[in-house]
């Protein structure tokens, strides 16, 4: 059996990024993907932010299957009585190298994997790695059934439900408190309808987040992304809350679809796919050990992603960590030393980059985002205030601040509100 410099488990963004960088450096790389084809198991909300893909594939948007650019962000507080939204449209985000890309993973990841193959890596799809090959303390390769594949180093890019990372003893069992579940429908609509309905032109696109009723006031939210000829509509909620409240994301998504605000946006559309995925959301605290002798952990498997309520990013963290892992392997190859001492360089690169720095900056966000008032009380208060401001009932008007006080009265104390604002200041 051939021996490889590196074996990569999983052909998502993290796996592809690491394989590409290593293959380009002339290393012998083997990538295993359990899906029948690359992308078969990959699912997300909808958008990629930042320059990371462009570092890997310069000007990728010219040939890669990009659905739309994110040129508009909407955040809405949703109640049964109405909604209040922040609607940000950017002209700069429509100029290369762009800020955000709406992508469908089954299509985009397949394209990415093709580039990885072109760079010289061997891609083996439809093969699930069952176990790591461990000799003493060192990881020496992987096992698929009874077959063994040997390499100097293994890079785990297996995604959020990281069973091999757990088997390697790098993480403990997940708690439902640390995990969110996302479900999504892809809803087909004509290009023309999407552009008219969302006020878009050409390759412009919108990323929308919803807070409030879409999760019945539970921590989490709804999302909508405009693809070229479909919408990605979904709901995210904390697993522990679903269990405690005996609620299913399946039902939340159905309710979300029938909310008047959303109903109008998806009207006439035809659902073509239903998907689900886990999101590890506990931040710094749940990051596993990211390396040991002969092993590196990247992307979602390493819980390397960011959720601040305003910012929801994962794939850029996956690519950055995949690239960092590849650089580390290149260095280890030069030294012919794949011990954890050399591989600890990976952690160092991550610490110097946005990956661990952002997680550090927003380390209080996961706890802050569990505050139920954000999803239940505040959307209601905000919508009520808007209603009171704009309602003309023929009576003499009250000053805005007096009105705000009236809305808050009996619902939340000034001190509680102040305390939440202070916590938000530190968390996000």
């Amino acid at each position: 059996m051939d021996r490889f410099d590196a074996i990569v488990v999983g052909a998502g963004p993290a796996g592809c990024a690491s394989a590409l960088v290593m293959a380009k450096a002339g290393l012998k790389v083997l990538v295993f993907e359990r899906g029948k084809y690359v992308g078969a198991k990959n699912m997300w909300g909808g958008a990629f932010f930042g320059p990371q893909i462009n570092y890997l594939f310069p000007n990728f948007w010219e040939e890669a299957p990009v659905e739309r650019l994110v040129t508009r962000h909407v955040i809405s507080f949703l109640t049964g009585k109405g909604s209040v939204s922040v609607d940000f449209k950017s002209t700069d985000f429509g100029i290369p190298p762009y800020n955000g890309f709406i992508l469908l993973r089954a299509k985009f990841d397949l394209w990415m994997a093709k580039q990885v193959e072109k760079a010289g890596a061997i891609l083996a799809t439809g093969l699930k790695v069952d176990d790591l090959l461990v000799e003493g303390e060192k990881v020496k390769g992987v096992k698929i059934g009874k077959e063994e594949f040997h390499s100097d180093v293994v890079i785990l890019a297996e995604g959020a439900n990281s069973l091999l990372t757990q088997k390697a003893g790098l993480r403990k069992e997940f708690s439902s408190e640390d995990i969110k579940q996302g479900v999504k429908e892809v809803i087909q609509l004509s290009r023309k309808t999407i552009e008219e309905r969302f006020n878009l032109k050409g390759n412009e696109g919108v990323a929308m987040e919803f807070v409030g009723l879409c999760t019945r006031g539970l921590p989490g939210g709804g999302f909508l992304y405009t693809n070229k000829e479909s919408l990605s509509l979904g709901v995210v909620a904390q697993l522990s809350d679903l269990i405690k409240n005996r609620v299913k994301t399946l039902d939340l998504l159905e309710e979300f679809k029938t909310h008047p605000e959303i109903g109008k946006l998806i009207e006439g559309g035809q659902t073509v796919e239903y998907s689900a995925h886990l999101i590890p959301v506990a931040g710094l605290g749940m990051i596993p050990r990211l390396y040991r002798d002969g092993l590196l952990v990247t992307g979602d498997a390493g819980a390397l992603l960011l959720g601040t309520g305003l910012i929801l990013e994962g794939a850029n963290f996956a690519i950055a960590s995949g690239m960092a892992a590849a650089e580390t392997v290149k260095m280890a190859k030069e030294r012919e030393d794949f011990s954890q001492r050399t591989l600890s360089h990976y952690q160092q690169i991550l610490k110097e980059s946005f990956v661990l720095q952002d997680l550090e900056t927003f380390k209080k966000a996961p706890k802050f985002l569990k505050n139920a008032r954000i999803y239940h009380l505040y959307p209601e208060l905000i919508v009520e205030m808007a209603e009171k401001i704009f309602r003309n009932n023929g009576e003499p008007r009250k000053g805005t601040f007096r009105m705000v006080r009236e809305v808050l009265k009996g619902r939340i104390s000034i001190w509680q509100l102040f305390s939440d604002v202070m916590k938000a200041r530190k968390a996000i």
């Binding site: 990841d109 439809g126 093969l127 995925h277 886990l278």
Partner: protein
């Protein structure tokens, strides 16, 4: 839209080999039955007083195993190439 209708839209290549097994002994004295709410594909159904489980519509998220406090669910991914095959993702 019913869950069966949704799952019927997806492409699955269902394996003959079962990738999730449920130890129903553990379910019997489980009051909370978190699997019912954790599964986004309604693979767990309560019939009278016992849980029935089918793996065919599994979206391979892994929620059920994390949710089950009784440790009654043994979970692995389907064999390579089998299971859900997203066309959009």
């Amino acid at each position: 839209m019913k869950v069966e209708e949704k799952l019927a839209l997806n492409k699955f290549d269902v394996d003959k080999e079962v990738h999730i097994t449920v130890n129903e002994e553990g379910c019997r004295d489980c009051e909370l039955k978190p699997c019912l709410y954790a599964c986004p594909a309604d693979c767990f159904v309560l019939r009278e007083d016992h849980i029935t489980f089918s793996y065919e519509g599994c979206l391979e998220c892994g929620s059920c195993q994390i949710a089950c406090a009784k440790g009654a669910i043994s979970w692995t991914y389907p064999r390579g190439g089998f299971g859900v095959c997203y066309q959009y993702g």
